[in-house]
């Protein structure tokens, strides 16, 4: 795969949850290049999270072709997940969860390591770098369950960054964050995009987006309603006008 090739290529993709009569995604075609910042909007149930889980290979593609980072999602799901970071929506850990922050971030490297290999110096350095990026180095030895929701969110983001992903999928990453943390994460995402990481973000918070051209994809009923590019300050109105009002989403 050359640097000019798209990192995400979906061609007429259908996805269905087990037991569902109708597909959740119906005929999605989407091409995303390296270093793009894509905001995915749309009302509840539009298929935004499903789109992220399809790109990450966690949901089966029932029709169409999906190539992520050069891998066919149907045959190489594990390889795709090693290159694609995915921050899950609304997550909270029990106070008794028996893992420290450092251990949780290290887990981000387990997929790359594969079976039977133990984490080495390179893995621990990547963990340290990811924690420093998110300024959670001082929490390294704390149990993850004893952190606030926002701190846990940062730990999970660090877990994804620890494997230096080519693509970062973020599902409501700002939901538990205060304004300062939100600004810091936005700055971090801008840096990642500048370094060539592709960011796809499902969010209803359109303030303080990075100062670059933003690609906006608006979904409705499992289909893409609008796919356009605009300035950061135009994202909220673009999403609203396309039927995915941030207020009711």
């Amino acid at each position: 795969m050359s640097p000019q090739d798209p990192v995400i290529r979906l061609e007429n993709v259908y996805t269905a949850y087990e037991g569902a009569d109708l597909p959740t995604l119906a005929g999605i075609s989407l091409t995303v290049n390296r270093g793009e910042y894509v905001v995915i909007g749309g009302p509840n149930g539009a298929g935004k999270t499903t789109l992220l889980e399809t790109i990450n290979g966690m949901l089966p593609v029932t029709h169409g072709n999906a190539t992520i980072c050069g891998y066919d999602i149907r045959n190489d799901g594990i390889h795709v997940r090693c290159r694609v970071g995915y921050l899950i929506q609304n997550f909270a850990f029990d106070p008794l969860t028996p893992f420290t922050v450092e251990e949780a971030v290290l887990m981000g490297r387990f997929g790359i390591l594969g079976l039977f290999r133990k984490p080495g110096a390179e893995d621990h350095n990547a963990v340290k770098a990811a924690m420093e990026l998110l300024k959670i180095g001082d929490l390294a030895k704390k149990p993850i369950g004893q952190l606030s929701g926002g701190q846990q969110q940062k730990v999970l983001l660090a877990q994804n960054l620890a494997r230096n992903p080519d693509v970062l999928l973020l599902d409501e990453p700002f939901s538990n964050l205060d304004f300062m943390a939100r600004d810091a994460i936005n700055g971090l995402l801008s840096d990642l995009v500048a370094r060539g990481v592709t960011v796809l973000i499902v969010s209803h918070a359109f303030d303080d987006l990075p100062d670059c051209r933003i690609r906006v994809v608006v979904m409705q009923d499992g289909r893409i309603n609008l796919d356009t590019t605009c300035r950061p300050e135009e994202v909220a109105s673009t999403v609203r006008n396309a039927g995915g009002s941030p207020a009711n989403a």
Binding site: F91, E103, M107, F110, L156
Partner: protein
């Protein structure tokens, strides 16, 4: 194996069997309680129990029939429930009900045929009637459980952290999860003649629950749980044989007492009144 330490053969066999069964059950118990699949352990215990009852009735090796029943249930809980669109809860409810019905039917029928004594062994275990090959098999499954955790430690920690996140970061969740179920099935089936179908759940859950009172890290739980289980089980075997008490029920009582004491002493329930 331990005759050089314990010359009394009966006591030696009882201690060996209790040691190996408790180590295997406690290690797997940490996984069971942390993934929160205690109901799976419970269902497998009863399935193995039903298998043993059927085997005993038809004069087939009851350990073998317990292993077969445990594996069938592991297969039904894992791959089959994933494919059959049945929620794990429903699958477990169905399997538990069927297992209990089969076990109770055959045990009750054996009582009417005058085979009651052997059936009681299935319910509460019988530590002194084990053959040496059964003890060797327990030693084997104990070793398998230890090696499984050592070799698959990072995958197991990922699954315990969260199955969905583990899958999203590229961990091969399903093979490791299914392997866990099959090892649980073997352990439960092989421990059944020793501990009994009604009590094996104590061995699977209580040591891990005791370890959780003192350990905040998973790695520590994998050490503390089997050590506590081994000490309590050996104490139960020695006390039971010395004072002619039924060994497995006595050990289960010991486990419960240790659990209550550990809850009372747990640092996790301490409230700090420090100001800085």
């Amino acid at each position: 194996m331990l005759e050089f330490i314990i010359p009394n053969t009966v006591l030696c066999h009882a201690v060996e069997a209790m040691l190996f069964a408790s180590v295997a059950c406690a290690i797997l118990g940490v996984i069971i309680t942390q993934i929160q699949i205690s109901s799976i352990g419970f269902t497998m215990a009863h399935a193995a129990f039903a298998g043993a009852a059927v085997g005993m009735f038809f004069s087939v090796n009851s350990t073998l029939s317990a292993v077969i029943a445990g594996i069938i249930v592991a297969f039904l809980i894992g791959p089959m429930s994933d494919r059959a669109r049945i929620s794990p809860d429903t699958a477990l409810g169905l399997l538990f009900g069927i297992s209990m019905a089969v076990a109770i039917f055959f045990i009750a029928y054996m009582q009417t045929l005058g085979m009651g004594f052997s059936a009681m062994g299935l319910l509460f275990g019988d530590v002194i009637s084990l053959y040496s090959h059964e003890i060797w098999m327990l030693a084997g499954i104990s070793l398998v459980a230890v090696l499984f955790v050592i070799v698959m430690y990072k995958e197991i920690t990922g699954i315990i952290f969260n199955r969905r996140i583990a899958e999203s970061i590229g961990i091969r969740v399903k093979p490791v999860y299914y392997a866990t179920l099959f090892i649980i099935a073997f352990t439960v089936a092989l421990s059944l003649p020793l501990i009994g179908g009604l009590l094996i759940y104590v061995w699977l859950v209580t040591p891990a629950a005791i370890a959780l009172q003192f350990c905040s890290r998973l790695s520590a739980m994998f050490v503390v749980a089997p050590v506590v289980a081994a000490i309590v089980s050996i104490s139960g075997a020695v006390a039971g044989l010395e004072y002619s008490f039924p060994v497995a029920p006595l050990t289960a009582v010991f486990f419960s007492v240790v659990f209550l004491v550990s809850v009372a002493l747990s640092p996790k329930r301490r409230i700090s009144f420090r100001k800085s």
